[in-house]
Amino acid sequence: MTEIVTPGGAPVGLAGDVAGAVLPGPPGESMLVEIRSSDASGLSTQDMNLNIGPQHPATHGVLRVVIDLDGERITRATPVIGYMHRGFEKLAEARDYRQIIALVNRHDWLSAFNNELGVAIAVERMMELEVPARADWIRVIMAEWNRILNHLMFVGSFGLELGAITPVFFAFREREDIQNLMESATGGRLHFTYNRVGGVKEDLPRGFLQASRAMVANVRVRSQEYRDLLEGNEIFIARTRGVGALEPSVALDFGVSGPTLHATGVAEDCRVTEPYSKYGEVEVKVPVGANGDSFDRFMVLLDRIDASCDIIDQALDMIPAGPVNVKLPKVVKAPEGEIYVRTENPLGQCGYYLVSDGKKNPWRLKMRTPSFSNVQMLPHLLQGALLPDMIAILGSVFFVVGDVDR
C-alpha cells in the first residue's frame, strides 16, 4: 500500500538543504507558499507546507510536525520539539534525593511509578543499600499496574485517532478502576511518589492484594474485548498493516526501545536482560512482532497487557511479609561517582545517568527518556507516507511529549 522511501544514506532528522526556506517560523504564520517544483512530468507544482500541531487532536500533546505535502503524500517531515521543556535536569540538580523522586515521575506522566523506580534504584546502587524483599515485590506489582495503565491509554487513543471512537471509553473505564486501586495504596492517581530511596513509602493497605487479584482477572477479560473490537476489524487492519514498517537495524541505531522496538522483532527488554528489583524471579514474557508496522506495534501493546497481568499474578503469589523501607540518615547523600541505570518503562527504556559529587544533590542527572529517541526516528518513517498514515504512525509510535522534552 504505502511505499516508504528511505533517504539514501543521508543523516535523517534535518537534511542539509534546510537552510532558511523550509524551516518554519513561529506558529501562526501563514506558510501556504513554498515554491519547490516536483520533478515528475515537467509540471511544476507547489508542495504545501503544513503544521501538524503544536495543538492537534492527534499528536499526544504539544508535538509539532512540520510536513511538506505533495497532495496527500508527505515528502518531508520535521518534528519540532521543546514546547514542553520544563528544565527537569536543571531542577534535579537543585533537589535532594528525596525530592527528585517527586520530580522525575512527571516527565513521562503515564508511567510515573516506573520513572521513580529508576531513580530510586540508581541512588540505592550508589549507596549500596539493600532493599527489603517486600518492598521489591511491591515495586514490581506497582510497576506492572502502571504499565497496564499506560498501555490501556495508548490502546484507546490509537483507535481514537483512526476513527474508532469506542475502545477509548472502554480503556478509560479500566484505567479508572486501576487508578482507584493505586490511589488506595499511594494516594495518587497519576503521580504516585510512592518510591523512596531504600523501599517504598509505606505498606499496602489491607485488602489491596485481593483487590489486585480480582482486578487482574477483570483486565484479562476486558483485553479480550479490545481484541474483539479492533484486531479482527477489516478497516483497522487495512489502516495499520504495512503502515510505517521499521527495520530493526534502523531502530537500534536511533535507540528506539519498548513496544516500538519489539514490534520489529528485537526482544530487547531490561527486565529480562538485566533484571532489576525482583524481575529476575518472575517469568517475563516479551511479545514481539514480525514486521514492525503499526499493526504489530498495536498487537505488541495488547500482548504486553496480558504479559503484565501474568507478572502481577506471579508477584501476588510470591510477595512475603516484612518491612517495606530502610531507615535512612537524615540527609541522603550518594557517594561520589557515576552510574547509569536503566529500567523498562512502558514506553521503552528509561535510563538515569547520575553523577554525584558526594553532596545531597546530584551534580548531574541525565534522564534518558524513551520517547526522545522514538520521536527522533519519526521522520524516517514518515517520509513517503500519506497523511492519514502519518496519523496511524504517530499514534502507534508511542510517546508522551513530556518525556520527549523533559
Binding site: 550508589m126 535510563g351 545517568y353 553523577v355 548531574r364
Partner: protein, 249 residues
C-alpha cells in the same frame, strides 16, 4: 567479556587514544581523546566482538574548570553489555568543540543538538545544530551550565534554604543543618547567629522585666528587689526560638 576484559580489548585497539578506563558499579567507562571520539564509537559499533548497536544517549556534564565532558552510552543487544564513552571537550568553557557521532549512530543527531542547546558544546560535522531543540529559538545562554542560575531564584530572593549555585547555597551536614560553602558565607552565618542571639537575649530580658514589674506591683511592701537581668543566663543559639533557617524535613 567482563568489563575489565573489555577495557583491555579497547586499550589494545585504540592504544594511546584511550585516556582512562574505570569500572564502577560493574560498569565500564572509557575516556578517549576528543579527536578520536568518533573513531572509538565506530570501533564499538563495527567490531563484531563488541557489537554495540544500541545507542542509548549522548549528553554533557559540566566539570567546572576542566570544561565540559561529553558522555555517550552504548549497549550491545547481542552480548548484553554496556559501555560509557567519555571525552573532555577541548576549548575549556569558552569554546568547547567535539567531533560529531552522527556519522556512526543516526540517533546521535538529536542528542547532540540537545547537548549543544544545554551546554553550548559545538559538534563539528553535525548536519544542523540550530535551531535550538528544547529551548525557544531566541533563547540566550546555556541552561545546564553551572553558572546559569535558575531564573526563579534570580527574579525573587528566596528566604528559605538556599540551593546549590545560589550565593549562600550549599550542602547540609549529617544532622540536616546547612553547612556553609565558603568562608564569607561562614562569617555571614556566624554574624547572623550572633545577631539572633542578641535579639533573643533582649526579648527574654524584656519579658522578665515585665513579669518582675507585675510581681513588684503585688509585693509592693515586700521590698524585694527584682532579680538582676545580668544574672540570668542568656539563651544560647540552640534555644527554642523559632529558627527561620528551615529545618530540612
Amino acid at each position: 567479556m567482563s568489563p575489565e576484559e573489555l577495557a583491555d580489548y579497547l586499550r589494545e585497539r585504540l592504544a594511546d587514544r584511550v585516556v582512562d578506563t574505570s569500572v564502577t558499579y560493574g560498569q565500564l567507562t572509557v575516556t578517549v581523546a576528543p579527536e578520536s571520539f568518533p573513531d572509538a564509537a565506530r570501533l564499538c559499533k563495527d567490531d563484531p566482538a563488541l557489537a554495540f548497536d544500541f545507542f542509548e544517549f549522548l549528553s554533557g556534564v559540566d566539570r567546572e574548570e576542566q570544561g565540559f565532558e561529553v558522555v555517550t552510552h552504548l549497549y550491545a543487544t547481542s552480548h548484553r553489555r554496556h559501555i560509557t564513552l567519555k571525552t573532555l571537550a577541548p576549548g575549556g568553557r569558552d569554546n568547547p568543540k567535539v567531533p560529531t557521532l552522527t556519522g556512526v549512530y543516526r540517533g546521535a543527531n538529536w542528542h547532540e543538538r540537545e547537548t549543544y542547546d544545554m551546554f553550548g558544546v559545538e559538534f563539528e560535522g553535525h548536519p544542523q545544530l540550530t535551531p535550538r531543540i528544547l529551548t525557544t529559538e531566541d533563547f540566550e545562554g546555556w541552561p545546564l551550565r553551572k553558572d546559569f542560575l535558575l531564573s526563579t531564584r534570580e527574579a525573587k530572593p528566596w528566604p528559605g534554604l538556599k540551593e546549590p549555585g545560589e550565593p549562600g547555597g550549599g550542602d547540609s551536614d549529617e544532622a540536616g543543618e546547612p553547612v556553609a560553602v565558603s568562608a564569607e558565607d561562614a562569617e555571614a552565618k556566624a554574624q547572623a547567629a550572633r545577631d539572633k542571639a542578641e535579639r533573643a537575649k533582649a526579648k527574654a530580658a524584656e519579658m522578665r522585666a515585665q513579669k518582675a514589674a507585675e510581681r513588684g506591683a503585688e509585693l509592693r511592701d515586700a521590698d524585694e528587689p527584682a532579680r538582676d537581668v545580668d544574672e540570668v543566663p542568656a539563651p544560647g543559639p540552640d534555644a527554642d526560638v523559632p529558627d527561620d533557617e528551615g529545618e530540612q524535613q
